[in-house]
């Protein structure tokens, strides 16, 4: 590995000394001074979100009322600055259930009618992946802010169309559903890894296991076909699209690089019901510097659930949902704070809990035993960021047009871009696009049992 690659992996943003300093009393006070504390939850990493206070609610519509869409509606109900005004699904039973989750919302069988509602300022698109393109483009054309579940599409061409459409609509927020990018605990880990506290990262591994056929039944054969879109290779990008995409994005984010190749394997082992999508896949994703990220997904076993491990020269860091632990090598230098940190035993290994603020509590002489200070779901944080950012951008556009020539789109775009520092952390349009491309290519690698190169040009959209 050359020096440039090495720097890219440890990152210039935070150094080891900074990270340790950030775990001090001064940082606690600084964090408090900026008000990054809410509900007794202190914020460790500077850019991590912590805003809970209500602003005027964003009127929102949810398109797609399947299980994820309904989870979204329920999560929006927990957020004080969201008001679900509309739900839409062309399938009557799902629409009814969506409406039950948001009793005050108008129910629309046709999403285009929902988009015609001028009171709805933003939409969440939670339909099957292959329907995203048409709906997202229509929503953007209607001037709605869009939160689109990942992947953006099941084809590269359509994902590119979405990128271009989102770029064309200045002053409209587009957020891909890569919700870990908004999760404060993830930001805390990012600081930790980028600081080099784990040493140079040289490999990563992740898995997602859940015994579940993915097959859904319906008394109506046509509906059953439609309901099982995830099992059909013409519209679905399989486990890579539904599951791996979040892991790819996490790995690229933490390793601060884009993959250069993906090797895939897959087969149907347990659910031999004629499906076109393997129920078990294994992937090796190659990053610059020959850093390998191995990843596997299976619908055949629930054992050991889902987790990620990032391996550094000084320690490995394991992430399980909103918790993380560091496993030190015997020759790793002492960081100091870990002496006071909570430790959990894992089959003879001792995991040092990496919990946002635990190190600061230790420095304060308090008990660093808080289990998980950020206990909301990643979806909650993703939607919270979306709502905040919709507010920031909408207000910014209003302020601009109140004072200047609104037809000057270039100046408006410059102004909206300048608001990024006031936004809460969230996946960007291009991060959503790149993760989508990786998922599509990973699925291709699995279906062909091949190594597929990821050309850099494929990760950009002109």
């Amino acid at each position: 590995m050359n020096m440039h690659e090495s720097a890219a992996l440890t990152g210039p943003d935070v150094n080891r000394r900074d990270f340790i300093r950030h775990s001090s009393t001064a940082t606690l006070l600084a964090t408090l001074a900026t008000g990054a504390v809410s509900g007794g939850k202190a914020d460790a990493a500077d850019p991590a979100p912590a805003v809970k206070k209500a602003t005027a609610p964003v009127s929102i519509g949810v398109i797609g009322c399947g299980s994820w869409g309904r989870d979204t509606i329920k999560t929006l109900a927990e957020l004080v600055n969201a008001k679900v005004l509309g739900v839409s699904d062309h399938y009557e039973a799902f629409l009814r259930r969506g409406k039950e989750s948001a009793p005050k919302a108008e129910a629309y069988k046709d999403y285009r009618k929902l988009l015609e509602n001028k009171d709805i300022k933003a939409v969440v698109v939670a339909t099957p992946t292959h329907q995203h393109g048409e709906i997202v483009k229509a929503a953007l054309a209607a001037g709605k802010h869009v939160y689109c579940e990942a992947p953006l599409s099941n084809t590269v061409a359509e994902a590119q169309d979405i990128v271009r459409a989102a770029r064309d609509h200045v002053g409209v927020v587009f957020q891909p559903g890569l919700q870990n990018r908004s999760d404060p605990q993830r930001h805390f880990l990012l600081q930790f890894l980028r600081s080099g506290a784990a040493g140079r990262l040289f490999k990563a591994r992740s898995q997602w296991h859940k015994k579940d056929s993915w097959r859904r039944s319906s008394p109506n054969p046509d509906r059953e076909q439609e309901l099982n879109w995830r099992l059909k290779s013409d519209v679905s990008i399989g486990l890579a699209g539904e599951i791996s995409i979040q892991h790819f994005d996490n790995a690229s984010w933490y390793l601060k690089a884009d993959p250069i190749a993906i090797q895939g394997y897959g087969s149907t082992q347990l659910w031999t019901d004629g499906r076109e999508i393997p129920d078990t896949i294994q992937l090796v994703v190659e990053y610059p510097g020959k850093i390998l990220f191995s990843h596997e997904v299976s619908l055949g076993t629930s054992f050991d659930n889902d987790h990620e491990i990032y391996y550094g020269g000084d320690s490995a860091v394991m992430v399980r949902k909103n918790k993380a632990w560091m496993f030190r090598e015997a020759d790793a230098p002492l960081l100091g704070w870990e002496v006071y940190a909570r430790k959990d035993a894992f089959f003879g290994e001792l995991g040092i809990a990496l919990v946002a603020n635990a190190t600061k509590l230790a420095a304060q002489g308090d008990k660093p035993v808080e289990d998980a200070p950020y206990s909301s779901t990643p979806l909650y944080y993703g939607l919270e960021a979306f709502l905040h950012n919709v507010h920031t951008v909408s207000d910014g556009v209003q302020d601009f047009t109140d004072n200047f020539d609104a037809s000057d789109k270039k100046a408006l775009k410059e102004y909206v871009d300048s608001l990024s520092k006031a936004m809460m952390p969230a996946a960007t349009l291009m991060e959503g696009y790149r993760a989508t491309v990786l998922a599509i290519k990973a699925n291709e690698a699995v279906l062909k049992n091949q190594r597929i190169l990821i050309d850099k040009s494929l990760l950009e959209v002109s």
């Binding site: 912590a50 004072n403 200047f404």
Partner: protein, 216 residues
């Protein structure tokens, strides 16, 4: 009761008419706020660190008597000019969403949406040595923040290298409490954190020449 001689009344009336006629025909050169290049920066302090809030929107316009040689070497003295500048309070950003909320709350941003400045009088401090040197004025105006209006005089520099655009610069030291703003002092952290009352406001305001029209 004494009466004012008719002759004096006629003279006074004539003078008034002449003045109002002059005023009605005075041509004003208008410069409108531009969407790029302007900035407002507020620097403050607290017991643990300094902080900065920045914004990029300053709306409004500047008008100056068209006989004023804006591109030349005008003599020192009063200038016939008008200006109104507007800064949306919520456009001021610290880079930390939570701090922005605290600031908006303390500035009563939900009720008083804008910071307004209206020019009352302008005085060119000294004649510039060349036609491209910046003009330095003492500007007196009404500054309204959070519902409190105060009359302030500040030094304003006008850069005029490109006559189609004027850039006004000013730095003012103000106290939050002068405008009824209580410096934030979060009751978290055992009350250890206190924000300083004094802030420094740095303004750069870019305006561009518009078509001249008679003043109303």
């Amino acid at each position: 009761m004494k009466t004012i001689p008719n002759r004096i009344c006629f003279i006074a009336l004539g003078a008034l008419l002449a003045l109002s006629s002059l005023s009605a025909t005075a041509e004003m050169s208008i410069y409108k706020a531009q969407s790029s290049g302007s900035s407002v920066k507020i620097d403050g302090s607290s017991t643990i660190h300094n902080w900065t809030v920045e914004g990029k929107i300053i709306g409004g316009s500047f008008e100056v008597d068209s006989t004023f040689p804006i591109g030349g070497t005008p003599a020192a003295g009063p200038v016939n000019a008008k200006a109104k500048a507007v800064i949306p309070v919520r456009s001021l950003k610290s880079g930390k969403p939570k701090m922005d909320e605290v600031m908006l709350e303390h500035m009563k941003g939900d009720k008083f949406l804008k910071i307004d400045f209206e020019l009352l009088g302008m005085n060119l401090k000294e004649a510039p040595k060349s036609a491209t040197d910046p003009l330095v004025f003492d500007a007196t105006g009404k500054l309204s923040i959070s519902g409190v209006t105060r009359t302030n005089t500040m030094k304003v520099t006008c850069e005029r290298a490109d006559l189609s655009k004027l850039k006004f610069k000013s730095v003012a030291d103000i106290k939050m409490t002068d405008f009824g703003i209580q410096p934030p002092a979060p009751n978290i952290a055992l009350g250890l954190i206190k924000t300083g009352d004094d802030v420094k406001v740095t303004i750069e305001w870019v305006t561009a020449a518009q078509k001249s029209e008679p003043a109303k």
